[in-house]
Amino acid sequence: MDVMELICIRCPKGCLLRVELEARGEEPRVLSVSGNSCPRGDEYARKEICDPTRAVTSSVPVRGCALERMVSVKTERDVPKGLVLDVVNALAGIELKAPVRIGDVVLANVCDTGVNVVATKDCLA
């Protein structure tokens, strides 16, 4: 049995998690999680070990808006951690046209993750 320490990133509290693992090799199995002060910590630890994911945020240029040059965007849900840079690269070259509304899809199914990149800012024409 292996023991790993993780810091939970699900909220600003940053709980120090102690994770007991069976075989740290290719298919690690989480036996127990302690140190978390809410269920999100348990969920995070299991996910971080078996299938780590992150939300990605960035910004892309917008045309036709008097006030803004850039629109901030995010992935609607987490994407696999290993694809974070690919997601940002996939956004290169994209240019939006005002008006843009919060939640508008900027790039559908980014990197075949099944996750959309959406706008997080209103930009009126």
């Binding site: 600003p12 040059r69 840079l85």
Partner: protein, 423 residues
């Protein structure tokens, strides 16, 4: 002269929340003055997520969090003037402002809420030796360049200071194709949230060098290299530990200062510790009718708590306006809040039990890291609060809730004492 019941200086997270709460508490005549052409303040450039877990029970980005409050202000038809800079607030509550459209003009207020936020400590505050080339930015300035203006400020980057903005920018610049060589931190611990060390540095293999500082900057027109050195316990560089890093950009994330020029002009008494106004349980400053909230009062880590604090200020300003002339006499039972044993300050720093609500949130910061400790409050000899904490650190604001019943019946002139205890 224009006249409003409540004038709010600043349309960021604090100003918006104060405006919404003041409106909901029954004040009809509210004006928000904002220097930028858009509401939302610093949230507009904080495009990362993690905001709103407390207020909205979901993870929002900064602009989305701002949009929620802007919508609330719109729904209530709260008046605002954008691209309008406040030049002066007088102790008699006359606000002088200027805008391109209206020139210089004055507004009479029955209450003023200060919500100007904070700004970053610049290079000039650090006494870094060396040349004065281009390429030295505060982290927040770089954040604005990348996220609002769409420019990349540099390609080879070193960051001094591990405050949250510095950590966030280490990740942001990496994602935009820059190479962040390291983050150096003077103190033996990070000033940022632990989650940001994980998701902004560890995820991208960016080293965090604790107990390190910049001792030199080279370059004539543009930064060409900087020199880092390790520091000892006295925080002075240790000779012989210098290491040179070739780079074109140095970001500074070395602390935030509440922006209180207007407060000073209004004769508001400031705390030498927070550099924000000294306030009572209603978040009212030393000047009658002037309230303060958000980062101008003391620097926060989380916007959720800014919103909460500002809503309190908004409600109390509304009560103040509604009470009119009947609000005196007051404050004979005022308790001073004293701090020691690792606690640097509390907000508020004076409490009148007869004026407080049923519950009052006392916010505080400690001066060093404590593990397995207790946050305690004494009223005279009696310990009225004793809360266990796994870890308290200077980078994480602490909260204690006091109940009015705990404070009633204390001798006039007595004080509360807040401290960290081992047991």
């Amino acid at each position: 002269m224009l006249s409003y019941d409540i004038v709010i200086v600043g349309g960021g997270s604090a100003g918006l929340s104060a405006a919404v709460a003041a409106h909901d508490a029954g004040t009809g005549s509210i004006l928000v003055l904002e220097r930028e052409p858009r509401l939302g303040g610093i949230l507009n450039q904080c495009i990362h997520n993690g905001f709103g877990l407390h207020s909205f029970k979901e993870e929002l980005t900064g602009p989305e969090y701002a949009a929620r409050y802007i919508q609330m202000a719109d729904d209530r038809k709260i008046e605002r003037m954008l691209s309008t800079t406040v030049l002066d607030v007088s102790p008699k509550l006359v606000v002088t402002a200027v805008s391109a459209e209206q020139g210089v003009f004055q507004i009479e207020a029955r209450a003023v809420i200060l919500a100007m936020g904070c700004r970053e400590r610049p290079r000039g505050a650090l006494n870094i030796a060396g040349c004065r080339p281009a390429g030295v930015y505060t982290a927040g300035c770089a954040q604005k360049l990348v996220n609002i203006d769409g420019w990349l400020p540099g390609r080879e980057v070193v960051i001094l200071g591990s405050g949250d903005i510095g950590l966030i920018m280490a990740r942001r610049l990496t994602l935009e194709g820059a190479h962040v060589q390291c983050v150096a931190e003077l103190m033996p611990y990070s000033g940022g949230l632990r989650r940001n060390i994980v998701q902004c540095l560890d995820d991208f293999d960016i080293p965090l060098l604790l107990s390190h500082t910049v001792v030199g900057i080279e370059g004539k027109k543009r930064v060409e290299a900087i020199t880092l050195a390790q520091v000892g316990e006295s925080l002075r560089p240790i000779p012989g530990t210098e290491k040179r890093y070739s780079c074109d950009t140095l970001l500074l994330s070395v602390g935030l200062l509440p922006e209180n020029e207007l407060s000073r002009q209004a004769s508001v008494e400031l705390s030498p510790v927070t550099r924000g106004p000294l306030v009572d349980e209603s978040l009212e400053t030393s000047v009658d009718g002037i309230f303060a909230c958000g980062n101008v009062l003391h620097v926060h880590d989380l916007v959720d708590f800014v919103s909460e604090e500002a809503a309190h200020a908004g409600r109390k300003a509304a009560e103040y306006v509604q009470a009119g002339q009947e609000r005196r006499p007051r404050r004979e039972d005022e308790l001073e809040v004293r701090v020691s044993g690792g606690v640097r300050y509390t907000v508020p720093s004076r409490i009148s039990p007869s004026s407080m609500d049923e519950r009052l949130v006392l916010r505080l910061r400690v001066g060093q890291v404590f593990e397995d400790c207790y946050l305690s409050v004494y009223a005279g000899e009696k310990r009225i609060v004793h809360r266990r904490r796994q870890v308290v650190a200077p980078g994480e604001m602490q909260e204690i809730t006091l109940r009015r019943s705990q404070l009633e019946g204390l001798e006039p002139g007595s004080h509360l004492h807040v401290l960290v205890e081992g047991e």
